[in-house]
């Protein structure tokens, strides 16, 4: 029995494009961005783009977890200040991190007293928070939101791998968790690069079990999101100056590029990965950087500055997450991946 025949179905989601992309007609603006990084990242090739480079990765705190929460909190505050606002002006804070029960973000929100949406998207949180924040703005539910995320090498090591002083060997596919945080203020009005489209990703798992090879675990989801974004919007690599994935590292980037190529798009000319950008080869990080902070600091520091200067006109941020937990790894589960894409357009030449 069919109560609602197919032809009577009314598509109310008029801002949805294709399979899973959202078009943001009001084009919310990223009016400010801030980044704080640890000492190792401060020695990396992008050092001049960060707002603050910490000398001490404890940040004056007694534990790595407290330090990470403080980094996130200070980054959010800095972004708010750079936007010429006060924390009380921000309608919602959207954020998350890698620690159990996302304590870095929620403890920071405790201090900031901004209404808080806690998110977990593993290392894809920068794009996830930015995407949801801009949807809130576009839906006229907020004037200002802050999207923020963080990671800390030492707190992540201890949660996901070994104690710091343990003398183990890292395989060449392993990645180095970025110590740092990035925050963006998204606003309904104001100057700054604008968010035009959002493509939330699907969770995809092609059976990789090796927690030391997360790039390969996330690559299929990343390629899926990029190709879906292209098909939904009709865009291609020709519409972007930069396509930046979150933290795939060298191996994951290679695989993603190849899968996307097989689907008919050669993105190699504009494609880069934040995990590769954030460190130089001599920093002993094997396959590259990782962590929520990876795409966050590279986007909020490096790419945002370049967009403001007009060096990048359109970019697709595709932050990537490996949705594993220490428990799932021990129980022999495979690693599901996810990637969220946010299309950002610079308003440099003629609004």
């Amino acid at each position: 029995m069919v109560f609602f025949p197919e032809e009577e179905k009314i598509d109310l989601a008029s801002n949805k494009v294709g399979r899973q992309t959202l078009r943001l007609d009001s084009r919310p603006a990223i009016i400010a961005a801030a980044s704080i990084v640890g000492p190792k990242e401060g020695e990396g090739p992008l050092k001049e783009y960060y707002d603050v480079v910490l000398q001490d990765d404890y940040f004056g705190e007694k534990s790595w977890e407290k330090a990470e929460s403080k980094i996130l909190r200070e980054t959010a505050k800095l972004a708010v200040r750079k936007a010429g606002l006060k924390p009380g002006d921000i309608d919602y804070m959207l954020g998350g991190d890698l620690l159990n029960q996302i304590i870095s973000a929620s403890f920071a929100a405790r201090e900031l007293k901004i209404p808080f949406f806690g998110l977990y998207g593993a290392c894809s949180t920068m794009a996830e928070s930015l995407a949801l924040g801009s949807i809130l703005i576009d839906g006229q539910y907020a004037d200002y939101v802050v999207a923020v995320t963080s990671s800390h090498f030492s707190s992540a090591e201890r949660q996901f791998r070994y104690p710091l002083e343990h003398g183990n060997q890292r395989p060449p596919t392993s990645q180095w968790t970025v110590t740092g945080s990035g925050a963006m203020i998204v606003a309904a009005q104001g100057k700054g690069p604008r968010i035009t489209h959002v493509t939330p990703g699907r969770v995809i798992d092609l059976g990789i079990k090796d927690a030391n090879n997360m790039g390969a675990a996330m690559a299929p989801a990343t390629a899926d999101t990029i190709v879906t974004h292209f098909r939904d919007t009709g865009f291609s690599q020709r519409d972007y100056d930069v396509i930046a994935t979150g933290d795939l590292g060298k191996i994951g980037k290679d695989i993603t590029q190849e899968i996307v190529f097989r689907e008919g798009y050669d993105i190699s000319a504009v494609y880069t990965d934040c995990g590769i950008e954030v460190y130089s080869d001599d920093q002993d990080v094997n396959s590259g950087g990782s962590g929520c902070g990876c795409s966050a600091v590279v986007t909020c520091g490096y790419f945002y500055s370049r967009m403001l200067r007009g060096e990048i006109k359109r970019m697709l941020l595709v932050a990537t997450g490996a949705l594993l937990s220490p428990v799932s790894t021990q129980q022999g589960e495979t690693i599901p991946g996810i990637a969220h894409a946010v299309a950002i357009e610079s308003t440099f030449k003629g609004e």
Binding site: K62, S63, R158, Y162, P163, L164, E165, H166, G167, N168, Q169, R170, P171, P172, T173, L206, G207, I208, N213, A216, P220, I251, D254, I255
Partner: protein, 146 residues
């Protein structure tokens, strides 16, 4: 179909992965592991020259090596050695000390009872459990057959 795809992807990833530098890693493990044993032997010989008998000298050697492993861990040197030497510095008794001291340091923030004491054996625990279990079984077999 799904499993086939996963298998194909896994094969593809394997072929993409850089191989660990096998020769270099083996050399590091051999040299560092050998050096650690040399140090141990030197301590045993020195102890013997002070008049300890064979068994006592080995006990002195083991205690000293555990101390050195713990000290180097505390100074933040052992993980630097382990990064290069791999099993060369994990297998000797100094590595065992490292696997106990490193979590003890790491979990100090969670307190001395539920942090240090509870987490101290998080890495070494399995070695102790199966090591002791194996030695009991071997002991029984020895008792029966000798």
């Amino acid at each position: 179909m799904d499993n086939q795809m996963k298998q194909r992807y896994s094969d593809y990833v394997k072929q993409k992965q850089p191989k660990p530098a096998l020769i270099k890693n083996l050399l590091w493990a051999f040299v560092v592991g050998g050096l650690i044993c040399d140090v141990g032997q030197m301590i045993v010989n020195t102890a013997a020259s002070f008049g300890y008998d064979r068994e006592e000298a080995f006990a002195v050697g083991a205690v000293m090596m555990i101390f050195l492993g713990a000290l180097l861990t505390g100074l933040g040197i052992y993980d630097q050695i382990g990064k290069r030497a791999g099993a060369g510095s994990i297998v000797p008794i100094t590595g065992f000390a490292n696997s106990i001291v490193s979590p003890a340091m790491e979990y100090k923030r969670e307190g001395y009872v539920l942090g240090v004491a509870a987490k101290m054996f998080v890495l070494a625990g399995p070695v102790l459990v199966y090591g002791i279990a194996a030695s009991v079984i071997i002991g029984f077999l020895y008792g029966i057959f000798s």
